[in-house]
Every structure is written in C-alpha cells, then in structure tokens.
C-alpha cells in the first residue's frame, strides 16, 4: 500500500462527496473495517510505520468529519428554506383582560404622589355630618348640606360628598408632618346626564407641615398635572371658595386635547378647569387639635373620571359605568 497515494485518493474522494450519504460511503471505503488502511494497520509490526499510519488515519478522519459537517449544514439549510410559515398569520390567542380607565388613572395619581413621598389613603364612603361637613368648616347654610344636593341615610349619616373627610380622619390619627392622598368613590345628588353620574371618584391630596406655602401648593399641583397629562402642561390658578381652605383656588390645566390651540373640550379657551385647591383653613386645623400658627397645610382634589376623560379623550361619563367590553378592551 502506498500511503501517499491512498491519502491523495481519499482526500480527492472527500472533496468530491456531494452529500452526507456520499461522505458516509467515503468513510467506509477509506476508514471502514475492511478498508486498505485498517487492514494495513492490523498488520503493522514496527513502531515507525504504525505512527505514520495512525497519523494518516487521523488526518483522514478530520477531513471526513469536516466535510460531513459542511454537507450536513448545507442540507439543513436547504431543508429550512422550504419550511416556511406565513408570519402574517395571527398567533395563538391568549385572552387578556384590561384594567378600567378609572383604575389606570388612579394608579398614575397614586404613583405621582408616592414619588413625592405621600401616603395613599382609602377611606370609608358612608360618613357622618360631623366629618363630612362640621369638621370641614362648612357653614350651616352651605348648599351641600341640603338634602337636594347630598344623599342622606338619616339625619346623621350620609354618603360622603368629597374625599375630604379623610383629611380629618388622618389629622385626628396623627400629628404633622402629614403628606397623604385619599382616593375613592364620592356621591352627589345629581341627575344622570351625559356628563354627570351621581357616583364618581375623587383624589384629594393633603400636606400639613411647618411653613408650607401657597407656592408649594402650586408646584405640587403642577407636578401631578404633568404626571397625568404630560410634561408640557401648564397650570394656572383662579380665586375660588371652599369651606375648608383659605385661600381657595381652582386650578386650570392647559388643554391636553388641543395643546391650547383651542377645541371643544376647552371651549376654545385653551384651559380646562380641574378640581379645587387651597391652603387648609385654620379652623379645620384647630378642629383636629393642630396649632395653625405652628403648622400650615394645603389640600387639593379632583375627579378621577374627569382626569381619565381628558387623558383618553372621552367626552361623556357613560362609558365609565356601562362596562361594555367593546369599550373596556380598548384599554
């Protein structure tokens, strides 16, 4: 046997093998049990020849393995190019639910306040006249005390008309500093219309600390409005009146629908009135045993549905309570 000729023949055969079947036949021919090389190895008697033939065997094995891997990969590639899926077909469907827009908005508000270091409060909805009106310094003649405006269960018990009784509960429970936001359902005796429902959700922030200012209130509201409606929003204030704050102001936010270019939502004024705010009235602080010369505070509140309406461009209140999946599945 001429090892050099054998190697040349074998490598030529490897190079010309065109499929994994062919390379397998080459392997059998040159390295199989009955191959010339195997027979020669079996008959080797001297060390030098043995070493040379084993080296040859290893070279041939390497060449065959290498070629086989190449061919196998080429065959796989050919096969895969034929295994095609229409990627535009829909995937297997998993049913997903959705959070209600009121919850989505509630979370944005909660997170904005958490970031400012506020606690989140979830408080009772059936209240007493004491907490809903008296402690909040509502005048005895304030229209909200009327049975026309408020749902009463009896002369003492009523459905809270705003989240503000939470202010009293929290201030009674602990001394300042207090930073909290209360969120939940409130009730007003309004007829049901396209834009009003007698049950809705409110959020109300309260801060009581040393030397809080009206400027701090403005800055805090700006932060929350931007969290709700985008970083470009502006906020302005107008003088107003609420029994439990003094001074009291209504904040306006620049219209997130038209970005102040003027639209139906903002009645072409560029501004949208949103809730109420003010510095906590000293009478309210005194009512809960907090000294108003030492501590000042601010509070502000706003409807959650109303915020959600502005976030999502919902012009009516109806979609929030009719719970139609065609609506809900958009969120």
């Amino acid at each position: 046997m001429d090892p050099q000729a054998l190697e040349n023949d074998a490598l030529a055969a490897v190079a010309t093998a065109a499929s994994t079947d062919e390379i397998e036949r080459v392997r059998v021919e040159y390295l199989g049990r009955k191959s010339e090389l195997k027979l020669a190895l079996r008959e080797v008697r001297d060390r030098e020849t043995g070493t040379a033939l084993n080296a040859l065997r290893e070279r041939l094995e390497g060449a065959i393995d290498g070629r086989e891997a190449e061919l196998a990969r080429a065959e796989l590639d050919r096969q895969l190019t034929e295994d095609v899926v229409d990627v535009t077909l829909p995937g297997e469907e998993f049913q997903l639910g959705t959070l209600h827009p009121t919850t989505l908005t509630r979370r944005i508000i909660e997170d904005a306040f958490l970031g400012l270091g506020y606690e989140v409060i979830d408080d009772r909805e059936v209240e007493t006249v004491h907490y809903n009106f008296d402690q909040l310094a509502f005048a005895p003649t304030h229209p909200s005390r009327s049975h026309r405006d408020t749902f009463f269960v009896d002369d003492e018990r009523l459905l809270r008309t705003e989240t503000s009784p939470s202010q009293i509960h929290v201030m009674e429970a602990k001394q300042p500093p207090i930073y909290m936001v209360s969120l939940g359902r409130v009730y007003r005796r309004d007829e049901i219309t396209a834009t009003r429902f007698p049950i809705f959700h409110q959020f109300e922030g309260l801060a009581v600390d040393r030397s809080l200012t009206l400027a701090d209130l403005k800055g805090t509201l700006l932060h929350v409005m931007r969290a709700l409606f985008g970083e470009q929003r502006q906020v302005r204030f107008r003088t107003h009146f609420f029994p439990f704050t003094e001074p009291s102001m209504e904040p306006d936010v620049s219209c997130p629908i038209c970005d102040m270019r003027g639209c139906r939502t903002c009645k072409f004024t560029g501004w949208i009135e949103l809730g109420g705010s003010g510095m906590v009235d000293p009478e309210v602080l005194t009512n809960v045993g907090i000294e108003p010369e030492e501590w000042t505070g601010f509070a502000f509140g706003c409807g959650i549905e109303r915020s959600a309406q502005l976030r999502h461009g919902i012009s009516e209140i109806r979609p929030f309570w009719e719970n139609d999946l065609r609506t809900l599945r958009q969120f």
Binding site: G115, F152, D216, G219, T239, N323
Partner: protein
C-alpha cells in the same frame, strides 16, 4: 350675577379692554361664565343711526288700516316720514328711531322702502327690536329728550353683560355696586359713592314695626308711601332689569328688584291697605298658622321655626323668601309699605330648604347681607318710588337691634409673604387692603361691614393679598422631611389581584354602589334617592356583576369575563356600616373553569385555601363552594343564559392569609422521588378528602400530591370512581432512599384503604 357694563359704569369708570376686565375678575374674584354682547351692533358708526325722535305728525295710513303714517324730527334738516305698526303714541311723543342704513340686533339692515304707496325712511322702535326686553306690543315712548340725541345716551342699546359665578363667601358681589367696588380695587380706579339719596319726607305718619325676634331680624326699615300710581317702569329701568336677567313687572316691584340688583339688599313692598292695622310684626309662625298662599299662587305650609312678616292679625310673608298673594302690590295699590330689612342666614336657609324655594332674595340672605346696607337700599328705593310713581314718602321707621361690630383683625405683612411663598412689599399689601375698604389701625385692620362675615382672621386678609397677586406666585415644592411614600400592604396586594385577574383574561368593571334592592333586609337605604335603581347601599358585588355580564351578553359581546374590586356596606344598626373591600368576578364557563381562575389568583398571592361545598342563592346548588375569603361557584341557571362561573372574595380575609414573605427552599440539591397511585373509591368520596388524608398519612416528606385523573368505568364498578394522584416525596436535607419513599407511599395507601374503603389499582 349678571352685570351689565352700562350699569357698572354708573359707579366706576371702566375703560380697560373687555378681555382684561374679564380675565382679571376671573383670576382674582369670580369665574366669568360668559361675556354676552346685547343689542345693537357697535360698529362703523351704526350706533349714530339710532336717535331720539319727536313725532311731528301722526295719522292713519291712507291705504292701510293697521298702519300709522308719521313724520318724525330726528335732528336732521328735514323730518323723516316713517310708517309704523304701533298705535300707543301720538303727535308730540318722544320715540326711539332707527334711520335707514342702521343694523338692528340680529343683523337686519334697514332700507328706505315703500309701504302701501308711502315711503318709510327708518323705523320707530320697540324694546324687542333693540333687544332691551320682550315687550313688543308697542313702541318705546321716552319721557323726554331732544330730537336727534343719540339713543345710546339714554338707553343701553348696545351693552355687554358679564355673567359672574359668585362664590358663597362673597355676597357683597351679588350687586352691581359691589362688583364696581371690586373692579375699582383691582384696577386702582375711583369708586362713586353708593347710589340713592333720601328725598325730603312729605309727612310724619307712624309706621308701626314690631320686631319680636331680633335674632332672626336684626334690622327692619319700614317706609310708607301714599298716592302711588302703579304702572310700567320707564324704558331705562326695564332695560337694566332685562339685561340683569329679571323680568320687569310694574314700577314699585321693579324698584325693589332694581335696588336688590344694584346694591345687594333684597326689598319687599306691601300693599299698605291690605295690612291689618297697617302694622308689621316680625315673628316666628304661630302653631295655629297653617298655610300662606305666596305670590306665585302656591299654598305653602308654615312651620313654627319659620320667620314670618305678619300684620296685626296674620302672617303675610315668609321673611326674605317670598311675599304673600293677599298683600302683594297690584294695579290698584295706592299706598305702599316698603320693607328694607336684614335677616339672619341660618334660620332663613332652613325655611327656604324646607319650602324648596330658593329665590333671588333668599339666595342673598342665606349668604349674609350687610346690615348697614338697609339704609342705602331704603334711600335708593325711596328716591326712585317718589320719582317714578308720583307717590309721597310720608313715614319712616328704623327698628334695629345692636348691629354687629366690624371685625378688627391682626395682620402681619411678613406672615402674608411667608404664607403665600411670594415676597409682596408691605406697602403694596396695605394698599390692596385699603382699596378693598379695610381701615388700617397700627398692626390691625378694621374690616368693612360688607365683608364682615368673610374677613375675620389674619388668613382671610392674607387671601386678599394672594388673590390680587395669584398669577405671580411661583411654583415650588415643599422641602422634604419625614415623607415616606409607599403603598400599604393592602394597596400593594390589591394591585396584584387586579393585575393577576387581567392576566387571567378578566376585564375590570365599575358598577354603582347603589342598587335597586339588596338581599339584606337591613341594607342602608337612602332617604331621597334620585331613582329607584340607585336607592340602596349594596352588601354584595355579585348581583351588580351579573347585570354587567347580562348587558354585555345582550350587546353580543363574546368571551365575557369581568371583575370588580369595590366596597360593600354591611349595616350595623345606627352606627356607620362596616365597609369591606371585595373582589368579585363573573366569567363564561363552568365551575372548574372559574375555580381554575380563582386558584391561579390564590397561587399569585401564595394563599392555600380550604375548599368546601356550600350554598348561595345566586349559585348552582350542586356547584357552589366556599373558601375562607368567600364563595366560588357556577352561576344559577336562572340568572343568565349559558354556563357561567362567579366568585366574590373579601380582600382583608384573603390578604390575612398571604405570607409576609416567601421563604426559600432548596428543591434542587436533593431530588424528589416521584410516584403515582390510583385508588378506587365510592363516588361520593371527595377527592379533596383523599388528598388531605394522603398528606396527613405521609407527613412532611410528601411535598406534593396532585389529582391528575378521575376515571369511571366497568373495571372500577358501579357507583365507584378511580382517582389517580401524582405524589412527590422530597427532603431538603438528604436524598430520600427508595425505601423511605415506598414506606411513605405505603402509609398513604393504608390510610386511604382504612378511611375510604379504597381499593389500590396501581
């Protein structure tokens, strides 16, 4: 409050652009709900085409019975011939004329035209054509005036009305003069003194006024007028009332309304001859006084707490709210008793609430009217009554208690700056307060009587500074200290529940907490619901969710799966109800589908539940289960078409079972030994009992036991089933030997055979 600028200008020289006026008021004073332009368009010299005319000739149109042919002097070289359809005037009358080319309210431009053969150059005008009022039966007849005088000099033919939303703390702004005072302060303008000057009294008759209830009525000015001629008010007064939103009625009544709108003090006028003994008594209603017919024709019940105006015999008016029909001013009234009083808010509010009768007057009283205002109001009314009705003022009484002192308030400018967060120069602060009528006395201020209810503490004066400089206040954030913002455990877990249910395919809904009826008989019921559907505070969420599911099904929606997290209100006799937060769900599919969703939710929370057969009125009697936190089951088929599952769980109960933290266990180092067993048991044996027994028998080595097949068939036999369990034995300390696992398995089999007469099948 509707404020016509033409009226406002009587008291303050408003010269700034309208936008500036409106936006300044909007920011510092009250919401400007609307800026309304009324009357004749004010452009291109249009107003100059409206003039006072003198009728020189008037007579029937030769070819039209209903038309009058007039010749009118309008201040030009030649008089104008005008055809007119009205007949309430004649030669010599002073009238309002629009010349050809004039644009009327609504856009009509007058042209010379020929009516039945006669040229008509212009129009003789009625109130309605000028948008001054609704009266169009006749043309306006003016008292006097020189021909050719611009009509705008005597009538507000073009006007702007500001519609202000006055807040409850500012009753001083419920008058044109009050708004003028505010505008003067905001823009640093001079303010005219309040209108009204008492004319000379023409008699000294006694006006009998007895106030029995000084608390309810601290002041009562009564004035008597003789020989009054009731008739329509002049055009200027009618125009002002109309612009301010009140309908003119007759001169005396119009004067009372005019003074209320102008100065803010509601007045009332009685027909003097209808008052028994001509006497006024202010007192509470008597127990034997049942009803009073008010001037709107309604018979209204009296309550002993109502403050009444009475004569010598009977109640004749609800004080400050509405007068009685019998004593009201009529066309034949000749003697008038004028009331300029002051009433206390709270009692009057109660009466007005009970009667459900808010009026222009009561709206002012309940917010508090300055008791010092009564004399100005009486003066203005007296001046006008004498001038407009030809009546004689012959009697006067001012019954008054000790009127409240004006508050004196300490004020520190540096505290104001610190509170606002804006450095405002102290001189500027003093100037603002002075312009608003506060009188400075050392470190204190004497508050004006018209603000006495609103300004009585330092913070109230600080508000005055703040609102004048509101736009300049910067946006800052509090200096942070001791602020620890984080969700409570409940709030965090609640979000987890919401997110898990969404991931499990359920969509969140919000249903009303008020329902038509509730399964609890003692559920809280509203005293005055707005509808039968929203009348009772619910004690369960599920019925609302069934409704929501039904509406979705009716709408044709598919794969319905809904959940809600909300409060229920569990009654506790006279106390406030116990409010519990629950999660409820409703979804298409059978019992095991719903149970699967609830189990997944429990896995998210790491809560183990104990499932027990149960009953619930809304659930299928054979497919209802209870766990610690609530109910889970298949919906009763009478509730909805199709197969539905439902659950309602109490969140606090559920969350009490959530572990505080998850403790790590090494489950990889020592592998588990897995074994399956199948046992045949009687049909009625619950698989839950088999699993519980297996756990108990095997002890802590049994890490998991899970039912994976239930089989019924011939091999098992009638009335029996085969239950197959995956068992997983594991120790966290060592690898279990086959013997240990086999021994534990043996104990399980023994216990199952023992307790349930089970037959081991594999």
């Amino acid at each position: 409050m509707r404020v016509p600028l033409s009226w406002l200008r009587d008291y303050v020289a408003v010269g700034m652009p309208l936008d500036e006026l409106a936006s300044r008021l909007d920011v510092s004073t009250a919401v400007v709900a609307a800026v309304e332009h009324r009357g004749v368009p004010d452009l291109d010299g249009n107003l100059a085409l409206f003039r006072i005319g003198k009728v020189l000739e008037a007579g029937k149109h030769p070819d039209a019975d209903r038309l009058q042919l007039c010749v009118v002097d309008v201040g030009e070289a030649e008089p104008y011939q005008i055809v007119c359809g009205a007949w309430n005037f004649g030669v010599g009358a002073t009238v309002a004329v629009a010349l050809p080319g004039a644009e009327l309210p609504g856009g009509l431009v007058l042209e010379r035209r020929t009516l039945r053969g006669k040229e008509s150059a212009g129009m003789i005008l009625s109130e309605r054509e000028l948008q001054l009022g609704e009266d169009h039966l006749g043309i306006i007849v003016l008292d006097d005036g020189e021909a050719g005088t611009p009509l705008a000099d005597v009538l507000p033919i073009h006007d702007v009305v500001l519609d202000l939303e006055i807040t409850g703390n500012r009753p001083d702004l419920l008058s044109v003069y009050g708004v003028a005072r505010e505008v003067a302060a905001l823009f640093r303008l001079d303010l005219e003194p309040p209108p009204g000057m008492d004319p000379a009294r023409e008699g000294d008759e006694t006006v009998k006024v007895t106030v029995e209830d000084w608390e309810g009525c601290p002041r009562y000015v009564g004035r008597l007028f003789r020989d009054v001629r009731i008739g329509p008010s002049p055009a200027w007064l009618r125009a002002r009332l109309n612009a301010a939103g009140m309908r003119p009625i007759s001169n005396v009544v119009d004067v009372t309304n005019y003074v209320m709108l102008g100065l803010g003090n509601p007045l009332h006028a009685f027909d003097y001859e209808t008052l028994a003994d001509g006497e006024i008594v202010v007192r509470r209603a008597r127990a034997d006084e049942r009803t009073l017919r008010t001037l709107d024709g309604v018979e209204r019940a009296l309550d002993p707490s109502d403050l009444m105006i009475a004569d010598a015999k009977r109640a004749v008016a609800f004080a400050g709210i509405m007068g009685g029909e019998e004593t009201e001013i009529s066309d034949t009234t000749t003697h008038v008793l004028l009331e300029a009083a002051n009433f206390e808010p709270t009692g009057l509010w109660r009466t007005s609430e009970r009667l459900r009768l808010p009026t222009e007057g009561s709206n002012r009283w309940v917010k508090g009217v300055d008791p010092y205002l009564a004399e100005h109001a009486a003066a203005l009314a007296t001046e006008l009554i004498v001038k407009l009705t030809g009546g004689h003022w012959v009697g006067h009484t001012d019954a008054r208690a000790q009127l409240p002192e004006r508050p004196v308030v300490r004020f520190r400018p540096e505290r104001a700056s610190a509170f606002i967060g804006l450095e405002v120069d102290s001189e500027e602060q003093h100037d603002i307060l002075a312009r608003l009528g506060n009188e400075r006395r050392d470190g204190e201020y004497l508050v004006p009587s018209w603000r006495a209810r609103d300004l009585w503490r330092e913070v109230d004066l600080i508000e005055e500074i703040a609102r004048f400089r509101l736009a300049d206040v910067p946006f800052t954030l509090p200096v942070r200290r001791e602020m620890m913002g984080r969700l409570s455990r409940f709030q965090r877990l609640r979000r987890q529940v919401e997110d898990a249910l969404v991931a499990l395919g359920c969509s969140e809904v919000y249903t009303p907490s008020l329902v038509e009826s509730d399964s609890a008989d003692d559920a809280l019921r509203l005293q005055e619901p707005i509808s039968v559907e929203l009348a009772v505070m619910r004690t369960a969420l599920l019925p609302s969710l069934v409704d929501a599911a039904r509406q979705n099904a009716d709408a044709g929606n598919e794969r319905i799966a809904l959940f809600e997290i909300a409060r229920v209100y569990l009654p506790r006799r006279d106390e406030l109800p116990e409010e519990r937060v629950r999660v409820a769900g409703i979804l298409e599919g059978g019992f095991l589908h719903t149970k699967g969703v609830v189990e997944a939710l429990l896995r998210v929370l790491h809560v183990d539940a104990n499932w027990m057969r149960s009953e619930h009125p809304l659930l299928h009697p054979g497919k209802a289960a209870r766990i610690e936190a609530g109910v889970v089951g298949e919906l009763h088929p009478t509730q909805l078409d199709g197969v539905w599952g439902a659950f309602e769980l109490d969140l606090d109960t559920l969350f009490a079972r959530v572990p505080e933290r998850i403790v790590y266990e090494d489950v990889l180092t020592y592998p588990a030994v897995l074994q399956d067993i199948a046992v045949a048991v009687r049909e009625e044996v619950e698989v839950g009992a088999l699993v519980d027994t297996a756990r108990e028998a095997a002890g802590p080595l049994l890490r998991e036991a899970k039912v994976f097949d239930v089989y019924r068939g011939e091999q098992v036999g009638e009335g029996r089933k085969s239950v197959a369990l995956h068992l997983s034995f594991q120790s966290s300390e060592r690898t279990l030997t086959d013997e240990e696992a086999a021994e534990a398995r043996g104990r399980i089999v023994e216990a199952l055979v023992d307790r349930f007469d089970a037959a081991l099948r594999a």
